[in-house]
Amino acid sequence: MLEITNLHATVGGPDKPTPILKGLTLHVPAGEIHAIMGPNGAGKSTLANVLGGKPGYEVTAGSVTFNGQDLLALDPHERAAAGLFLGFQYPVEIPGVSNVQFLREALNSQRRQRGEEPLSGGEFLKLAKDKAALLQMDMDMLKRQVNVGFSGGEKKRAEMVQMGILNPAFAVLDETDSGLDIDALRIVGAGINSIMRSPDKAVLLITHYQRLLDVVRPDKVSVLADGRIVETGGPELALRLEAEGYDTVMADG
């Protein structure tokens, strides 16, 4: 489903580009939940941003194919319409715009790009209600402005509601577990399972901690260090990392 091959990327613009990704190769087939772990500064968030198409990141070599399409040739909104969702580590506030308005416009824009009919207000509200209930989020929260005044945990839950409503084929979740207490973690984890655990979907789950992986059981775990995937294994790899730390595991690898 997602094939990243020998990806090199820099940040910092043409004046002083800093290489972050240095030949990253990773294949995630449909039906797989793939956890990415790794020390700070390894390039995890850069990977997420490059996949999303964020301005300021320059791909200098390599390729990314998404369902056979050249992902890097698409604009961010085209990637979204193609089925790519990016769960933000720091969700952004949009003052004066309600979550309902934001998501309805976003979803209908995706649908238009795919040649589908837009949803009516009623149809959309029903969908939004269902997904909010799944994440145990109050509908009142969806009527509030996008991420304005939300706590860290609320923002992450709102990200998951957005994912439920947009129903992507592939989700890149960048430290979705950070800032969550145990209860919220469980809710978010269950949300990921119910929305994304499917034979025709896949997830790239970027995290520092085992505790999310206890809820969302990954099929594969890869270690990202210094811009490359240095080791890939099953769920047991995450447990080893948690017990022994990156240095030991990477030295062994």
Partner: protein
């Protein structure tokens, strides 16, 4: 007094090409078409004869002609003001037409009888279908009265009878001068005096038509009143005149929306709007202004020099100005409230958008003379391209006005790094019991916000429109529903090509 100014200029040379390309795209002005209706002109130039011609065309009584001539003589002694933060080539007032009217004066019972050419234009403008539904006999359709001003002369007035049953007089100002001379004489030029300013004096001399509304004591006007202004004849100055009188305990909501066809010539517009509210009366005045702003290179576009003022004469009277300004090459406009009544309330809600080479200097004046009078000012300025957007506002508290309160919020949003946003508040307080608050912010649409919205599926322009509408929400929600939707579309259209 503070003067907060924000302006950044970097990478000008590099982005210049991009800006021009983007601007060229945006130049396909949606309402940039013109119609073929024949126009009867007064001769070019402005003399006493022009004033007499206009007055004669309108079959005006002698007192009106005298009033106009007095204004004209006064105007000749006045100087064009230059204190606003706008720049434009010197206007040759002798090189313009001051009167243009459709050749056939049509009096209609309903809009169905409207000239198909005018009807076509209105359809193209997407004028809310409410009127058409009512005319087609659709039950439950919300009634909106239309006094259509086409090239200075009212060509259609509908719902007049229903309004008359309620006692509301809703006429073109020319008709009102003939039919209700006492009412007009009592208030015309009393709120905005002839000598108030250069453009107001000019308007007094040559105003061609406009609207008159009278709401008698205790009457709540049964429908929203709306007027669509259009400027159509090339090189024709437009001088609309509006007078709204709300007697004790009455209420009226008035909507004004405008658009104009694409022209190379600059078109001068100098309207005067006078409102007066007596005890416990309320007037809500909403404007969506979408006049041709000039092309992407700053050529053409309307010059809009407007004087709008409300007299909150009665105790507990209230006037709300709500405006969405997206058009015109140059905007010079300060809808104001003179709060004479005790416990009277003035409100000003404004969104002003400038793109490409547009210049707007707009704001309000709240003059507090009555005890316990209150005012609220919410101004949202959005600047893009190479435009300049200035909020200029005055809050004055007179010596006998105790316990006055004012709250002012001025927010500026910048798109790109070649536009300017300026906030110029003037505060003059002569009574120590006044509470005056002023807040101002300046922000840019962040790359983070754009990327976030685009990652969720919105195209770049959709994302900008969404963020801008959110920014302007506090003002847009003050608009009547029919206008709010149109206004949101206008904001998006006005900012096309401003990012990327």
């Amino acid at each position: 007094m503070t003067d907060l100014q924000t302006r950044s200029q970097s990478d000008v040379a590099e982005t210049d090409v991009e800006a021009r390309e983007a601007a060229a795209k945006a130049a396909d002005y949606e309402h940039g078409w013109s119609s073929d209706i024949e126009t009867e002109f007064a001769e070019k130039g402005l003399t006493e004869d022009t004033v007499r011609f206009i007055s004669g065309k309108k079959n005006e009584p002698e007192w009106m002609l005298e009033w106009r001539l007095k204004a004209f003589r006064l105007w000749q002694t006045m100087e064009e003001p230059d204190w606003a933060k706008v720049g434009y080539p010197k206007i040759d007032y002798q090189d313009a037409y001051y009167y243009a009217a459709p050749k056939k004066k049509i009096e209609l019972g309903s809009l169905d009888e409207l000239d198909p050419e005018i009807k076509r234009i209105y359809d193209k403008l997407g004028i809310p279908l409410g009127e058409q539904e009512v005319l087609a006999g659709v039950k439950g359709a919300k009634k909106v009265a239309v006094d259509a001003v086409f090239d200075s002369v009212s060509v259609a007035t509908s719902f007049r009878e229903e309004l008359l049953r309620a006692g509301v007089i809703f006429l073109s100002i020319s008709e009102a001068i003939r039919e209700y001379p006492d009412l007009v004489r009592k208030w015309l030029g009393r709120i905005v005096p002839v000598r108030d300013n250069y453009f107001a004096a000019l308007n007094c001399a040559v105003f061609s038509d406009g609207t008159f509304v009278y709401v008698p004591e205790g009457v709540r006007c049964p429908m929203e009143l709306s007027t669509y202004f259009r400027i159509n004849a090339e090189n024709t100055g437009q001088f609309e005149r509006t007078l709204i009188i709300a007697e004790k305990g009455s209420y009226v909501s008035y909507l004004e929306g405008c658009t104009a066809p694409m022209r190379d010539e600059n078109q001068l517009h100098a309207a005067v709007v006078e409102l007066v509210a007596m005890d416990d009366a309320e007037i809500k005045y909403s404007t969506v202004q979408n006049w041709y702003p000039g092309n992407a290179d700053g050529v053409g576009g309307i010059y809009n020099f407007v004087t709008k003022r409300a007299l909150c004469q009665g105790d507990r009277s209230k006037v709300s100005w709500t405006q969405v300004e997206t058009g015109s090459a140059v905007t010079w406009k300060y809808p104001s409230c003179v709060l004479n009544g005790e416990d009277s309330v003035g409100e000003f809600y404004s969104v002003a958008v400038t793109n490409n080479f547009q210049q707007a200097d707009t704001g309000t004046k709240m003059i507090h003379n009555g005890k316990n009078s209150r005012s609220t000012i919410i101004s949202k300025g959005i600047s893009a391209g190479k435009s300049s957007n200035t909020y200029r506002g005055l809050v004055r508290v007179g010596p006998t006005a105790s316990n006055v309160r004012n709250f002012t919020q001025c927010d500026s949003l910048l798109l790109g790094d070649q536009c300017g946003a300026h906030t110029v508040p003037y505060i003059e307080v002569k009574n120590p019991s006044a509470q005056i608050e002023h807040e101002a912010t300046t922000s840019k649409i962040s790359d983070e916000q754009l990327f976030y919205a685009m990652q969720r599926g919105l195209g770049e322009e959709e994302a900008v429109a969404l963020i801008v509408n959110g920014f302007a929400k506090d003002v847009l929600k003050e608009l009547p529903m029919e206008f709010a939707v149109e206004a949101q579309k206008l904001l998006a259209i006005s900012l096309e090509g401003s990012v990327g």
